[in-house]
């Protein structure tokens, strides 16, 4: 490439040391920051989960009082959703979107820097509420009023933190849309884009559409709590159920914000290790778009028990069930991609396959939850907890790990330790099922979620689940070690890294130089992940 002939202002006087990371506008640096931040949050949120599982190991209260337990469940969710999963996807997008579409950087590098650096402040504020006299929020991550309005003054800090996270996500999303729409290399037509790019483009639109709705909802909570408005206060003519509608109008698309990029990652990895192009590329794109569209009209399935008219319940039930169709198409397409391929099973592929299996389990229990009469039993029980952890942990988090293993050689220039990677996969897979599968039974047997103590007949499954939780949790330290080890050294990685890989990111050397694609590449069918000429 013609690196030497292009000049950028920031080319020559790189700030050194820590300051470099504060002022960086380089998409690769910012991607790294996002990913490291997300790993830290994953460990903090995981520690909170272990507090929860430790308390639930046996009946009776042993370790924490119920109020602190509620703070843990609330903070665990907020930290994992807004601190771990979402920033991890944004970090992957930062690193990979320019590399995959042949752009030199993100469209708005300075805004990119702000998007990231808001996050540490937001989470410092959020986590600091744990040390405030009135404690961290304890009303669940959904912050349902009137309960959330009973919180102390620290509630204002929580809402401010959520606003900051929202601003960060919206700026990040705008940046990604602008990059994908305006920065593609010549020949990189929309229908030649890798699926990861497609899923992120759609996710970014979802973010821009719903994060402001969340901001509005929590602002209403703020004014209800501190400024005497009555949006949700029944005494003043407000309606607590209204909050649930607004929240879930954000909340359901949010669920897909956390899974669509995972679909994208898996759709990159499975073809690579099957040595075969992705099956049904076009239908994958349409399926993603339909899932995104449907996500706006199913929100009330989170609130079947509030008492809705029959017609509304039927509508939301049918709409929710319909989502199974495009989701099924995706799963079938992945299997068809593997079909008659030439498969190998390196760690990224293992995580991707684990994703397909366990996300499917979560998806199938999702179909069960859509059935309204049965949901009257499942709702707010541990069955729901099991369901969304299958889609979020063995779904989103496994996909993120798959993506990290897949692209780590490209980032560091070294191969990670394959043996340790496989151990990490098997360890995680076994224990994560020990952790979450018994929770299905607990829910069916009548254990409600968000309780710090339980009747003795729930003991055995809770113990199993807690053991799984601790084993899975501590297993993730191995993940940290593998990353650290890979960053420090290891077998040098080639540019292409994987035998079956396709796409622009594999045309640059490993590690990817600080500046790539200063001169745009020309994209044709030989490098494109998807061949355009198909009809």
């Amino acid at each position: 490439m013609s690196e030497a002939t292009t000049h950028h202002d920031d080319h020559h006087d790189h700030p050194k040391g820590l300051w470099r990371w504060v002022v960086t506008t380089n998409h690769k640096d910012i991607g790294t920051l996002y990913l490291l931040f997300s790993l830290v949050m994953f460990l903090i949120g995981g520690a909170m989960a272990l507090v929860i599982r430790a308390e639930l190991f046996a009946p009776g209260l042993q370790l924490v009082n119920p109020d602190f337990f509620n703070q843990m469940t609330t903070m665990h969710a907020l930290v994992m959703i807004f601190g771990a999963v979402m920033p991890a996807f944004v970090g992957l997008a930062n690193w990979m979107v320019p590399l995959m579409i042949g752009a030199p950087d993100m469209a708005l590098p300075r805004m990119n820097n702000w998007s990231f650096w808001i996050l540490p402040f937001a989470f410092t504020i959020l986590l600091s509420t744990l040390f405030m006299p009135t404690g961290a929020p304890a009303s669940g991550w959904t912050l349902y009023p009137p309960l959330s309005l009973q919180g102390g003054n620290s509630f204002a800090f929580v809402i401010f933190a959520i606003h900051l996270m929202g601003i960060s996500s919206i700026m990040g999303a705008i940046n990604i849309v602008a990059t994908i729409l305006n920065m593609r290399a010549p020949g990189m037509t929309l229908l030649r884009m890798p699926l990861f790019i497609w899923t992120w483009l759609i996710t970014a639109f979802l973010l821009i559409a719903v994060m402001p709705v969340l901001a509005g909802a929590v602002t209403m909570l703020l004014t209800d709590r501190f400024f005497g408005t009555s949006f949700f206060n029944a005494a003043g003519g407000g309606d607590p159920v209204l909050y649930q509608h607004i929240f879930w109008f954000f909340g359901h698309p949010e669920v897909y914000i956390m899974i669509l990029p995972a679909f994208g990652i898996v759709s990159e990895i499975i073809p690579t290790f099957s040595r075969k192009r992705l099956f049904g590329y076009t239908s994958m794109v349409y399926a993603t778009a339909s899932i995104a569209f449907l996500s706006f009209i199913v929100w009330a399935h989170h609130m079947f028990t509030v008492g809705m008219p029959l017609g509304a319940m039927l509508f939301f039930m049918y709409a929710t069930m319909v989502i199974a169709v495009p989701t099924g198409v995706k799963i079938f397409n992945w299997i068809a991609t593997m079909w008659r391929g030439s498969m190998t099973f390196e760690t990224p592929m293992l995580f991707a396959l684990g994703f397909v299996v366990m996300f499917t389990i979560g998806g199938l229990s999702g179909v069960m939850l859509a059935i309204v009469p049965a949901d009257f039993q499942y709702h707010d029980s541990y069955f729901v907890v099991a369901h969304f952890h299958y889609v979020l942990v063995t779904g989103s988090v496994f996909a993120i790990m798959a993506g990290v293993y897949y692209w780590l050689p490209k980032w560091t220039g070294h191969m990670y330790d394959e043996r340790l990677g496989k151990i990490h996969f098997w360890w995680s897979t076994v224990w994560v099922n020990v952790l979450f599968f018994p929770q299905h039974y607990l829910g069916l047997a009548g254990m409600p979620r968000r309780i710090p103590d339980y009747a003795v007949q729930f003991t055995e499954f809770n113990m199993i689940s807690s053991i799984g939780g601790f084993m899975f949790g501590f297993g993730q330290l191995l993940f940290c070690y593998i990353i650290w080890k890979c960053a420090r050294g290891g077998e040098p990685a080639s540019a292409r890294v994987w035998e079956g890989s396709r796409g622009l990111e594999w045309t640059v050397p490993s590690p990817a130089p600080h500046h790539t694609f200063d001169t745009p590449p020309v994209v044709d069918d030989s490098v494109a992940v998807h061949k355009d000429e198909l009809t």
Binding site: A178, A209, A215, H245, P309
Partner: protein
């Protein structure tokens, strides 16, 4: 060689459009409040549509003599309000289309004046569309002096179009303290 530009949209223009979309969606969050109220009014989703009295005398020329509907009057006092509040009649058999009147009695047990406010609700929710009140005390502030009691009338008509399968309708009033108005009252004393 330039990178492929999105035809007709430069980056600043695209960013501006996306930012406007984000701001509009923030507004949409607030718009959901009146939309929801309207939606409730049309569908009776939360059983609260029978909120305000219509103030219009309901035409009573089409009394449905073929069936009885039981109306159950319910009263709840929020624990933050030291009042007693009860319907005079618990149950009433009514003919759809006919105008009826009943009374609730409220009593302030405290030794200071307090402002209360009643929030109405109808169960089942779908019946609220067919429950027309021509006079009620819903949502209006009720000032009761120390140890004062008051009779509060409700006049209503059950719409003859009430679905056949609804035989029993509960009209519920939940009484809350209006803390702001009570505080103002205490301050002006």
């Amino acid at each position: 060689m330039r990178h492929l530009a999105n035809k007709g949209s430069t980056t600043p223009w695209l960013v501006a459009k996306l930012a406007v979309l984000a701001i509009a969606m923030f507004g949409f969050g607030y718009l959901l409040v009146p939309l929801y109220e309207k939606f409730c009014e049309i569908t009776g989703i939360d059983g609260r549509t029978a909120g305000q009295a219509t103030g219009v005398e309901y035409l009573t020329d089409q009394v449905d003599e073929s069936r009885w509907v039981t109306v159950h009057f319910d009263a709840t006092v929020n624990s933050g309000l030291p009042w007693q509040f009860e319907p005079v009649e618990r149950m009433m058999q009514v003919r759809p289309g006919k105008l009826y009147e009943t009374t609730y009695i409220a009593f302030n047990r405290a030794d200071r004046p307090i402002v209360g406010q009643a929030v109405p609700s109808v169960a089942p929710g779908r019946a609220s569309l067919f429950f027309n009140k021509t006079e009620c005390f819903c949502f209006t502030e009720q000032l009761l002096g120390a140890r004062e009691s008051r009779e509060m009338p409700v006049r209503f008509v059950v719409d003859p179009n009430l679905p056949e399968r609804v035989e029993l309708v509960t009209l519920s009033y939940i009484l809350y303290q209006n803390e702001q108005a009570t505080a103002v009252l205490a301050a002006t004393d």
